[in-house]
């Protein structure tokens, strides 16, 4: 009875804790501007099903793709097991779902299969990250925490799966010994290899092993749940909404700022009286983005979804040729800045802490280096669009601060005066016909 109460308290507590973290993240995302979402729900759901649920973009890197698929399936399937653990924990039952008979045996056997596969995959991942020199795991933005974060989660998973197998091994021995409470249920093709570890254990000792592993497993899972919101592994949740809100327009199509459209129309309309311009209700917003509050909520959602896998950076022509720009760093900076500003807002009630995304996090040099080739957004396994953020930051520098490379100033003046980025006369536009 005592253990049931303890279990229920721990379980409810960690679920509440998890939801309060979710709320903070939601508030942080809502620092951004509202966006109107265009496109059909059906089409969006399809993209979500293909990219997030079906891992549609993971297999451009086959090795990583396969390993990830194993961990992902393992995660999904072992979660079903959680259902039973929770019921048992609250009700004090043991293997409550075992009434399913043969199907239950099959379920437990496949959980074990995945537990082993996940352990192997995680070990390979650890080797890839820490021993093999795969460049994208060693970029400058992969500093202490991002590295530790990735390793922690892998070790976490290995421990959880080991606890699960240990629990099963002890349980099946108890079943063989006809111990009270331990109903005969389940098939244990993998954990039975652990039996020799417990040779000579009596029922009491086996129960201690089984119970410890059970508690370790469930508390581990609950800790894992609450670790997610502070980790890049939050993508296992965010990938779904994020892919739902994917950009549907062609990749290279940039949005046309509406505020600018209004002004340009006024400027071009000879009959317009600027003083009569209908006052719009909106704040006279900023052009482009200086801080996360100028970005929109989908862009901020993108940042929370980033898995820091670095695929984007590994295909970025600027990064490959040694420039500072790294699209992954852009996404990490946006997330860090959001967290910082959100915290400031919760503590002080306003969103001015004297800092900004530009310069405090992202330098001009990075912003100006992007060729807008969209290699990053093409390869991103969770459909993140770093280019839209880079362009918004550029817009701010160029339109609000007139901070831009000298050659661009010349180019823009040429367009303004001659209708071409080079200094040629409009009248020479047809010269090619007779050359």
């Amino acid at each position: 009875m005592i253990s049931q109460i303890i279990f229920t308290v721990i379980f409810t507590g960690s679920i509440l804790w998890f939801f309060s973290s979710l709320k903070k993240i939601r508030d942080n995302i809502f620092l951004g501007k509202k966006v109107t979402v265009k496109g059909e729900v059906k089409e969006r759901l399809k993209i979500m099903a293909r990219v997030a649920l079906g891992q549609g973009k993971m297999f451009t890197r086959p090795v990583a793709g396969l390993l990830h698929l194993i961990v992902y399936l393992g995660f999904l399937i072992v979660n079903i097991e959680m259902l039973e653990i929770v019921i048992d924990g609250v009700a004090g039952t043991h293997r409550v779902l075992s009434f399913m008979g043969g199907f239950y045996d099959f379920l437990i056997a496949s959980f074990e299969f995945f537990a082993v596969a996940v352990i192997i995959a995680c070990i390979v991942f650890l080797i890839r990250r820490n021993i093999l020199k795969i460049k994208r795991f060693h970029n400058p933005e992969m500093t202490k925490w991002p590295k530790t974060d990735a390793n922690l989660i892998l070790i976490f998973e290995i421990l959880l799966m080991t606890a699960f197998l240990t629990m099963n091994a002890a349980d099946s021995l108890l079943q063989q010994l006809n111990a009270d409470h331990y109903v005969k249920a389940g098939a244990f093709p993998f954990s039975s290899f652990l039996h020799p570890l417990f040779s000579g254990f009596d029922i009491q000792q086996l129960i201690i092993v089984e119970r410890s592993a059970w508690w370790f497993h469930i508390i581990g899972v609950l800790l894992f749940l609450n670790y997610l919101p502070i980790s890049k592994h939050f993508h296992i949740i965010m990938a779904f909404p994020n892919t739902y809100f994917s950009k549907l327009e062609p990749k290279t199509a940039l949005d046309n700022l509406e505020a600018v459209t209004r002004e340009v129309k006024l400027m071009l309309d000879p009959n317009a009286n600027p003083y009569e311009a209908p006052a719009s209700n909106e704040q006279p917003g900023r052009f482009g983005a200086k801080d996360v509050t100028d970005l929109n909520r989908i862009q901020l959602l993108n940042a929370y979804t980033c898995t820091e896998c670095g695929r984007c950076t590994s295909v970025c022509p600027a990064n490959i040729t040694g420039k500072k720009l790294s699209p992954r760093k852009i996404m990490m900076d946006v997330r860090d800045r959001m967290e910082e500003l959100g915290k400031h807002k919760r503590q002080h009630g306003n969103v001015d802490d004297g800092k900004a995304l530009i310069r405090d996090y992202i330098s001009e040099e990075e912003i100006f280096a992007c060729t807008t080739c969209n290699a990053c957004s093409e390869i991103c396994p969770v459909n993140i669009d770093p280019v839209s953020i880079i362009i918004d930051l550029r817009r701010y520098l160029v339109m609000e601060e007139s901070k831009l490379p000298q050659e661009w100033t010349t180019m823009l003046t040429n367009i303004e005066n001659n209708g071409a980025p080079w200094q040629f006369s409009m009248n020479d536009r047809l010269n090619w016909v007779n050359e």
Binding site: A253, L412, A420
Partner: protein
């Protein structure tokens, strides 16, 4: 090239009270850059050869605003766009063909929400259609059996999913099409986009166009084919810097086709 081209402007069509089948949007590079002008002439030659009824805007054409937009000057972009849309709509233009993927992308994707709605085609798509319809017969000529690799322009491929038309055109020449390691949706940028072609690159350890040129040269091709005047500029520079301009030519799709007419 010295053959005379027959090119009429929209203003001339309007004066005759006629409407051309298509508007050929030449673009700034196609109008002013010496190398790109050859692409423009080659495409006009094909249109003349097939007696396609086309017009250009001539002195009424202005920059689409692509470099202004990508460099962050949305104001200038929209000014350019609005003026161009006024011109295009004034002439009642329905269908536009262009040899520049940047113009293509802007006209097709960014003009509609500003009031400019047209059917926009890249010349590779347009030529492909003509071949499919049996109107254009292509001969390999001097390119027959030559090793050609195609560099996917970002604004054509990743941007607008046009991967097949350029390759189909090259196959028509009975050429040996070889692919680079990074091709199609994983193609590597030439380094020009995002208005980068108009400024020095940020500090790094290599120029983007050199990286791409090296990748192409690894295949030991006779020809690097492109479908973008800016890729043309970047790759031609790259090939020159690698001292390979005697052995490897950078040629636009329109030129490949025009050469066999």
């Amino acid at each position: 090239m010295s053959e005379t081209l027959k090119v009429k402007t929209m203003a001339q069509f309007a004066a005759e009270g006629k409407q051309p089948e298509i508007l050929f949007w030449v673009g700034c590079a196609g109008s002013f850059d010496d190398r790109s002008k050859k692409i423009t002439r080659a495409f006009a030659k094909i249109l003349n050869h097939l007696e396609i009824d086309f017009a250009v805007l001539g002195t009424e054409e202005s920059c689409t605003g692509d470099p202004a937009k990508r460099s962050g000057n949305e104001f200038l972009f929209q000014m350019q766009a609005m003026v161009n849309i006024q011109t295009l709509n004034g002439y009642g233009i329905k269908k536009i063909v262009t040899t520049c993927p940047h113009c293509f992308n802007t006209l097709k994707n960014e003009y509609p929400s500003l009031g400019g709605n047209y059917e926009v085609l890249h010349h590779s798509q347009f030529l492909q259609q003509l071949i499919d319809e049996g109107k254009l017969k292509v001969q390999g000529g001097s390119f027959k059996g030559k090793k050609i690799t195609f560099h996917d322009p970002c604004y054509l491929g990743r941007g607008n999913n046009i991967y097949e038309a350029p390759r189909e055109l090259i196959k028509q020449l009975d050429a040996d099409l070889v692919e680079m390691k990074r091709c199609r949706s994983e193609s590597f940028c030439c380094g020009a986009g995002g208005a980068q072609v108009f400024k020095e690159a940020e500090p790094g350890n290599k120029e983007v166009n050199i990286e791409r040129t090296e990748e192409a040269l690894e295949l030991k091709p006779d020809v690097i084919a492109t479908g973008c005047p800016f890729c043309m500029i970047m790759l031609t520079d790259g090939v020159k810097l690698k001292n390979q301009n005697e052995n490897v030519k950078v040629i636009d799709l329109a030129e490949l086709i025009a050469a066999g007419l």
